[in-house]
Amino acid sequence: TMDVYFGWRHLSQVVGNKRMRMTSSFQWLLSTFILLYLMNEVNSQKKGALRDLKCVTNNLQEWDCSWKAPLGAGRGTVYEVCIEDRPRSCYRLEKTNIKIAALSPGDHEIRINSLHDLQSSMSKFILNERNVSLVPDTPKILNLSADFSTSTLHLTWNDKGSLFPYHSNVIWEIKILRKESMELVKLATYNTTLSGKDAVRHWSWTSDMPLECATHHVGIRRYIDCPHFSGRKEWSDWSPMKNISWTPDSQTKVFPQDKVILVGSDITFCCVSQEKVLLAQIGHKNCPLIQLDGGNVAIEIHNISVSANSGTNVVFTTEDNMFGTVVFAGYPPDSPQKLNCETHDLKEIICSWNPGRPTALVGPRNTSYTLFESFSGKYVKFKRVEALTNESYQLLFQMLPNQEMYNFTLNARNPLGRSASTILVNITERVSPHAPTSFKVKDINSTAVTLSWHLPGNFAKIYLLCEIEINKANSIQESRNVTVKGVENSSYLVAVDKLNPYTVYTFRIRCSTETFWKWSKWSNERKHLTTEAIPSKGPDTWREWSSDGKNLIIYWKPLPINEANGKILSYNVSCSSNEETQSLSEIPDPQHKAEIQLDKNDYIISVVAKNSVGSSPPSKIASMEIPNDDLKVEQAVGIGKKILLTWHHNPNMTCDYVIKWCNSSRSDPCLMDWKKVPSNTTETIIESDQFRPGIRYNFFLYGCRNQGYQLLRSITGYIEELAPIVAPNFTVEDTSADSILVKWEDIPVEELRGFLRGYLFYFEKGERDTSKMRGLESGRSDIKVKNITDISQKTLRIADLQGKTSYHLVLRAYTDGGMGPEKSMFVVTKENSVGLIIAILIPVGVAVLVGIVTSILCYRKREWIKETFYPDIPNPENCKALQFQKSVCEGSSALKTLEMNPCTPNNVEVLETRSTVPKIEDTEIMSPVAERPEGHSEAEPGNHVAVSYCPPIIEEELPDPAVDEAGGTAQVIYIDVQSMYQPQAKPEEEQDSDPVAGAGYKPQMRLPINSAAEATAVGDDVDKTAGYRPQANVNTWHLVSPDSPRSTDSNSEIVSFGSPCSINSRQFLIPPKDEDSPKSNGGGWSFTNFFQNKPND
């Protein structure tokens, strides 16, 4: 057998070499090989040699070698196996395999002697480790369990590591099959290293499909990758399959139940049902069913969208049942944003945050928060409150004594995940105190107060910075910062000075810490009135002499509130001269003037204001008035509500200037107000609410020198000039034949309302009532205008007028503010007597002269005149030839020129007459009433003219084209023609009959045939038609019947418009020529037919 072995080897080599070298002789070699092989087979059979020694190991320590027995070897064959290089290693056995201890690497000779029926044959094998296969034992699953809630399979098995002495690597291959049809759903590999001891291995797998809905089968095999083993390594066999199936035990039919998953992930739902599932839907959407074993179905959802609050419903519907589950698709918690920890009182830390992106999970699946402080190891949990807003995400953490640094971690967690945010704070730098409470104000003096407030909190170790806001009416707001040492839960006190006496202040305060973090909210406001102080200045004083010059009136102004420093109770007025000091009694506050009887000596008047605290410094004024001769009254006009006064600097004026003003119309002493300006100024603006436009004010500028006042300037002015409100009163002083003298009066100052700039005088010819002198300004040429700018002029003579003429005179005054109203008057100039006399005498003289000349001429030519104008006339009564019988002349009808045949008049109504010759002319007889003037007919073409109508007796006339054309528009309605013309009832017959042969009716006039359309349609014979013809041109019959067949050609349109019809019968006198019209056959057209629906329309 060994020969064969080597021979085979050799042959293989030979074959290999030959193929390399001579590929052409390949066929020859192949035949040789086959021959040799067959001979060998025969030989070996003969010899009974052993074949195919194979060794495998499953643990590397023991080899299991087996061989094939020769042919004919049966029971009773004994084999002797000897390992040549191993002492006493011969084994007798009756099997064809032997387990031997693993041999060392290298070739080993194995001799197997088979003894059978006293025949023996011996075979030799060379055995090497390289020829040994390592096939591990089939692994065995210890346990297969399922967690149905998570669809997870748990697999455990023993790795049998103790069998292998080395730290060998093991590859485990696990297959998971689903359903009874054993569909492979997962083939997983799992690498381990053997530890030399038996160990139980675990492997878990989560199914995409709920495990409840289909049976899952699991098998395992292994491959040991032993580095020291040089032989072949092979996979073990698959372990026996274990399976997991679910036994229905509850109502639940749909899986998974109440699962929370991430938005966008894929999920499979399945339904365990004995009935046939008809429909599966998620939300509104139907899903295709995936059939599983035993009527179970599944649906796959890809990229699931976010759920509503109550989750997304998945429903499986059977014939008469419904199963479902709810899935909650949401997001893991966002990391808490804007985590901020601060304290109001250094007792409790408030951490607040924003939850970030909503998770779409509510109720028990909502995010839970835990605040953990790592230095102390303490934590607090967030309790969810109703109606969460972003502000309500906050937690309170009790401060720990002697700990200033806090390291907070906020953990957020929901079924889909967790997140965290951290913050490290020195809490003394994160103080935002509460709003100060019990805020109070107390007086110290008139300019200082103390403020006190309470601030809850443990601020003993820090300093507080507080801001005091001070508000005063009509003043800008003031803020003052104070720093106070913190105390524990106590009140704080600060003084505020530099206030004004007797002033209402509003205080409020807020606090922070010296290491500023945030201001607290403002405390409540407190209003406080500071106490009074003595008035800081004396009142502003002025004096006026009374009109009689005996009394001096002292005026003063009330002190402004910031100078009064309290409520002014009274004033003291005293006057002193060199000799004496006179003091008046106290004057109570609302009174601001006093009158003292003084002589013309120099006095100094002093006024002192008093409040409850004391008296002001006196304000003094001299009584003396220094005269000024060089004084003239000036004019001034203000701008806006102000008036500007300027003056030259006068070095003599040592103290101040005083401007006083008053209304010019008031009597003395005239004083509205005064204003003091310093002596170095040369101008001032006077402004007062009392100023009104159109009122004249007097301004007086006083200079002060040596304690006496001198009037420097006197100014009359207006704040704003207005037009006069009255017209000047004027009268006519004198009238002559060509001139008028007019005189007028001044306008009072109050009504002038400005400085008078002149008069306008208008005059024109005109009577009262007729001349209104409208549009004086529009420059009418007949109005003469005189502008009188000399305001001192009070008369005006108007010359070059006509005598005895009425003139209209108008006068009006004007200021810079505008024109005043006008005043008018009518004056008639006197007669011019010489002209009048001449005007009478000359015509009289001329008339007398003409009379005389005429008389003379008439007398001399009297015979000729008589012959020409008045000849003798013979008397007709004397003429016999012209005598008549009286009876004859008195209207006997027998002598009339014409006798008419008896006739029954028919009424003919003329609709329209455009003819110069009316159509009725054709009738022989016309009723007198029917005759209308032509002009009238034309003017009223629509008027119906009722005429008596007689059937024509005359023969058909030749058409007169002129008449036709003209008469084409005349329309006649024939009333009661039917009685005269019976065949009208059958218009079709009429049309069918030969037009020439028709001899019944004779038309009154010819139908116009100049219409081209007519000519084409009917032909030239038409004019010979003896049937009835309307007198009018049918084109003018605009009775468009609603059912006229307009679809036919335009010729038919003419006809179908309608033909004249008898008023009584309401039947058309001419049949429509449209053969296509079915209605035309009936011959009984009526207007009512027009509104009937044609069946074929």
């Binding site: 109502q251 109440d258 609050n309 109550s310 419903n313 589950t325 709810v326 509510v362 109606a387």
Partner: protein, 225 residues
């Protein structure tokens, strides 16, 4: 189950008219002891009002439950809702009920339904829904009191709840969210059916108790609107 808003305005208007005329009716037509008539009328009106209120509540709640619960033709089998009192009854059986039994059944049904409804309120996830449910619970409590009043007026004793039979809302682990939703759906449906039935019950009682004149007056005024 028809929970659409429908002609709720018209019904509300009609109801308002009825309520407006309520005080006038006994004063016009009756003197002395009014008897149980007015309280039956009030109870009847209250059922109509609750019916109206339930329409909007059910609309909101079914939308909250999500599709297919808010679909108009959704009609699931009555799986876990077996403990809910059933309003549906054979017409003959209903006709044969006497006043006492009729009122007792109403009272018992609403006391059970109220209890379930309060459980529903605890489960609701949004604050707005909880407010609506709480409001409806208050109204239903009022109806229960009203029925008790009618029973007292007629001299019937109130049914005593047997200890242990008081229904409790158990949202335990055995109850899946889906079954919970089915129960909620059936609770609302039964509530509506009960309100319809009560309206009929009290209408019948009202006709029986009230003198004809008063009944006619009210009838006319209610329809005259």
């Amino acid at each position: 189950m028809d929970l659409r808003a429908g002609d709720s305005w018209g019904m509300l208007a009609c109801l308002c008219t009825v309520l407006w005329h309520l005080p006038a009716v006994p004063a016009l037509n009756r003197t002395g002891d009014p008897g149980p008539g007015p309280s039956i009328q009030k109870t009847y009106d209250l059922t109509r009002y609750l019916e109206h209120q339930l329409r909007s509540l059910a609309g909101t709640y079914l939308n909250y439950l999500g599709p297919p619960f808010n679909e108009p033709d959704f009609n699931p089998p009555r799986l876990g809702a077996e403990t809910l009192p059933r309003a549906t009854v054979n017409l003959e059986v209903w006709r044969s009920l006497n006043d006492k039994l009729r009122l007792t059944q109403n009272y018992e049904a609403y006391s059970h339904l109220l209890c379930y409804l309060r459980g529903l309120n605890r489960q609701a996830a949004t604050a707005e829904l909880r407010r609506s449910l709480a409001h409806f619970c208050t109204s239903l409590q009022g109806l229960l009191g009203s029925i008790a009043g009618v029973m007292a007026a007629l001299g019937y004793p109130l049914p005593q709840p047997l200890p242990g039979t008081e229904p409790t809302w158990a949202p335990g682990p055995a109850h899946s969210d889906f079954l919970q939703k089915m129960d909620d759906f059936w609770l609302l449906k039964e509530l509506q059916t009960w309100l319809w039935r009560s309206a009929k019950d009290f209408n019948r009682l009202k006709k029986k108790m009230q003198p004809p004149a008063a009944a006619v007056t009210l009838h006319l005024e209610a329809h005259g609107f």
